[in-house]
Structures are given as structure tokens and as C-alpha cells.
Symmetry: C2
Amino acid sequence: MAQRFAITLTQLSYFVECAKTLNMTAASQELHIAQSAVSTAINQLEKSLGAPLFVRQHSKGLVLTPAGEELLQQARQIFGLITDTVESIQAGQKEVRGTITLACFKTLAPFLLPQLLGRLQEKYPELTVDVIEGDHEEAMGALRSGRAEIALNYDLTETDGIHSEVVGEVRPHVIVHTDHPLARRRKVALVELADDPFVLLDLPDSREYFLNILRAAAITPRVKYRSAGYETVRSMVAMGLGFSILNQRPRISQTYTGARTAILEISDPAPSLHVAISTLARGAQTGKARAVTATVKEILAEAAQP
Amino acid sequence: MAQRFAITLTQLSYFVECAKTLNMTAASQELHIAQSAVSTAINQLEKSLGAPLFVRQHSKGLVLTPAGEELLQQARQIFGLITDTVESIQAGQKEVRGTITLACFKTLAPFLLPQLLGRLQEKYPELTVDVIEGDHEEAMGALRSGRAEIALNYDLTETDGIHSEVVGEVRPHVIVHTDHPLARRRKVALVELADDPFVLLDLPDSREYFLNILRAAAITPRVKYRSAGYETVRSMVAMGLGFSILNQRPRISQTYTGARTAILEISDPAPSLHVAISTLARGAQTGKARAVTATVKEILAEAAQP
DNA sequence: CAACGGCATCACTTCAACAGATGGACCTGC
DNA sequence: GCAGGTCCATCTGTTGAAGTGATGCCGTTG
């Protein structure tokens, strides 16, 4: 088809080399192509522009015409602009500055974000982090739609087009009222709670996960209350309305406020949740994204160590 | 071979169209190419830059990434610069302004240049004319070397690579002292001057021409004096040192000063000289060159009319 | 005048761009 | 929930542009 633009960057670069050497043969060697290729390229360029660029001096090389002078000057600017653009974009992918938008699973946010944002601020003062909180679908939607560059959540579903990396493991724990008979125990078997009413954290993806843990222990849960709010569930347990199972970060949980609840390990082989960082699979990761990923890993590693 | 520049203007133009429509299919139709071509072009561009430009929304088109935003902005500038450059050069070929360098055969200059420069100044106030005077070889050399864009001389030799156009005819005339027996005549046969001493205008190309005129009339010229200067030859004739043959513009000659010489037509079938305007054959002519050519023709046409 | 330098041109080759078809992922409406 | 539609990616085959190497022409130089 007809070229949208008359000239080619290749032609222009050949022209610049010719203008430098004033000798097509020398230029062709410099460019590592045949002399004939340079000749045809320059001729085409002249034809496209409708102006001669060089005066050919037989066996004495080339002389720039006024049109050639003008083109040379402009060509330098054009290449400058293009290389600046390319380099700026490539650098933008590497540099850790500017803004990154992070999507975060709602219940993960309070345990992770305060430390994460603090640490990032400290390490990368020029980086601004925007946060989108939401449920799993919302977080992944933000990622897919480009509203967020990186997403932090549990790896509940494996979707394609998205690259996920597990950065931490979160084991489920039982939460009971401090007056509960088992509250003093460090570890319980789920069957010991078989008769207690269950308070369910009722979020799109978590729902099945928690119920499955109980079912795996051959318990038919008496779901007395349910809520989509993490804090609400804890309050209900604190009020003595039942026990619950939550995914709680061991270290962080201790500092997370709230009295009147005890956290117990589960002796059953309950499946852990994996905290995953997701980005779009297409293309290399941004420097910003890598910085966030690294910092999250750092924090989780520190939390895992005593 | 490896592309000197990672990206292509074609790719960039496809990208811009995609960024406008946010839909590769629509862009491909707008560009009149297959959708697959757009897809691969964008993918290559992303690969070259090492950055994703669009987030693909299945069945909902595209969303620009930050890198894409930046590229779009820069691409507009790049295309602006390129089209400005191309247009400026193309316009520069057409516009009659700036400077043109004109090479002129030395003996033609005093008859033609004063009128020509005056007329050009009047018609094209923004045009500056630089003049290089010299013999035929010097004028053509200036043309070939690019020092002059246009050359004005007699079409003595037909050289290739140079486009020449005959714009006027100059018949040779006899010049004699006003006291010469034939001075009153309007027309003479050369044989009538066979015994007079001849004053030769001795320039590289004119020499043979004048002598040939005499030889054609079966006269063996008695070359008493010779000079490379037109004025010198006239002075010699005015001093009565002999007769001469010169190419003289009929109309202009009358106003060209100097007494004591008479100008006679030659009844023999002596070959005229043709005034030719030459430019390099390569490429189209500049607007400036066309303006000069036209003005020269204009002046010569007026001179030919009574 | 012969050797050389330098650009243009020719015939041939190669590779990137393109067309057209297909498939997968997702959205939408019934 | 399923059928149809949208949109992008990918595959295969084709075509044209860019490149190669040889040759010729012109002009310079010693």
C-alpha cells in the first residue's frame, strides 16, 4: 500500500551518514550495507521530497544542496526527538519514581498496606502509591483494565494473561472469645468446635474457602452469623456470638488491636492461603512494580522470622 | 541487517491511529490494512520499546498505559516535526525567495545582467541573486559543483547531466571603426573585409567560433591583435587597429556606450550563437530557477521585438 | 592515457510486512 | 446459561521493498 509518510527513518539515517562523509561509498561502509543500497535510498528520498539533496561530483563525492543542508539540520532534530522519546519511555520503565497504582484485596489491606506504604516511602521518596481496595474481582478488574499496575491478593483463581507470584503464606486460625473454654489453648482441632456456632466472613471468594476447611474436618458448620466485614466478624466473636476462622498474619495479628478474642492455631491440615502479587503478563515489569514486589517480600519475610 | 533505529514511522503511525480509536480493528480499517498487520506492528513496537503501550480489554478494545500516553504525546511531536520538515523543503523548492546563485558567461554579463537583476529585484523583492562570472568552463564548473544553481551562457557544448534551454539567439556582427569605408553600410559580406586586419576576441570557446566564421567565408584572417576582454577588443577597433566580429545583442548594442565603432550585419550565412540557460538535470527545478529563466526569456523576447 | 575513485543501474535474493483465515477470550442479550 | 457478537492474537502463504554484488559510466589524477 501507499506509505503513510513519504520518507523512512532508514532513508533519513542513510542521508545523515552521507552528509557526514560526503561520500556514499564511505557511508555504505560505515553503515555496513552495500553502496548501491545507499544510492537508491538517497535517490528515493530525493524523489519523495521533490528536491535534490546532493550534487554528485564525479569521483569527488558529494556536496550538499541548500535543501540538503536544511534536511540535515532537521534530521538531527528528528533523531534527537525520537531517541529522547525512546529512552524516556525505556527509562520510565526502570525508574522508581512517579506514581504506581496498587490494587489490594480488602482484607489484606490493613495487615500489609501500612507497613508497605511506610517502607516504600522510606526507600523511594519519589514514588507515590495510589491504592485501590476491593474484593478479588475488583482488584483483578483494576489490573486488567489498566487502572492498577499491580495487585495484591490471595491466589484464589488462576487466570491467564496475568502473571502471579506467591509471596507469602497465610494459615487459617481459629478465633474465639477470650472466655471460650479453649481460649487458653495454643492449638485446637476443628472437631472440638463442632458444636459451636460459626461466624462466617462472607466475601465472594473467602466464603467457600472457610466452609471447605470445616467440611474437610467433617464438620457441618452452624453458620449463625455472616458478614462481609473483617472487623464485624471479629466484633461478633468478641461479643461471644460464636467462633470464626480467619486468615491472619501471625506476627502482625498480635499488634492488630482488639481485645476479647483469642487466636488459636489449627491442628488439622487446613489449606493455607497464599498471598500473591499479580501483574499483567504482557511485557516486562516496571521498575516501580519490581520495587513494590521486592518490598512486599521483604516485609513478609521479616514477619515470618521470629 | 539490524535496524539502525528500533522503531518505524509506519509502526508509530499505526500506534497513533490505535490510540485515537482505542480499537485495533477500527484503526486497521481507517488505515486500510488488515487487522493482523496492526496487531503485529503494535506488538513489535511494544517489544522495541520494552514497554506495554495498551492494555487489551477483550472485546472492549484498548486502554493506553502510562508509557502509551507518553509515546502518543511524543509521536504527535515527531510527526509534526517531520511533516514540517518535508513541507518546508518542498515549499523551499517552489518559493521565490532567499538566495539563488547564478553563473554567467563573462561576455554575456554586461548585456543581460543589469536588466535581469533589475527586473528580478522588481518582481521578486525577497529574492537575492548572487552572480559568478567566468568563462564557459568556469560557469559550468560552478553549476556542476553546486556553487551555482543556474548558469547563463552560449550553448557551445552539450554536456550530459546538465539540462540546457535555448532562450535567445545572437547573430554575429562585424564591428568596424566609424571611419572605415564600410561603416555606413547596414550589411556587408565578409569577403569585403578579407584584407583588413582582424581583432580576435580570444576566449576559450569563442576563439574557434569567430575564426570558423571567417574560414567559412573562405577568408584566412590576418589576426593582428587579440584580447580576452570584450571592451579591449572594441577599443582596438575604435582605434582603427582592425575589424572584429562579435556577438552583440542588436537592441542592447545601440544603447551600449562607446563611439567610433559601427556595427554591421553579416550577409553571409554565419552561425548564430544561442543563449542558453542551464541547470543540473537531476531533480525538478527550483521555483527560484524557474523565475530567473522566465525573466531572462521575457527580457530577450522584448529585445527581439522592435 | 591508464588506473582509480565514485555514483548509478541491473538482475537476483531475501526478509519483513501484509492478507486472509482461524481461534480464544470476553461481553451481551435473550 | 447459552448463542452470537466483538476484538485481539496467531498461523500460513504471498508479495514487494530493501539489500547484494557485478557492471558501466564519468570524471579525476599521476
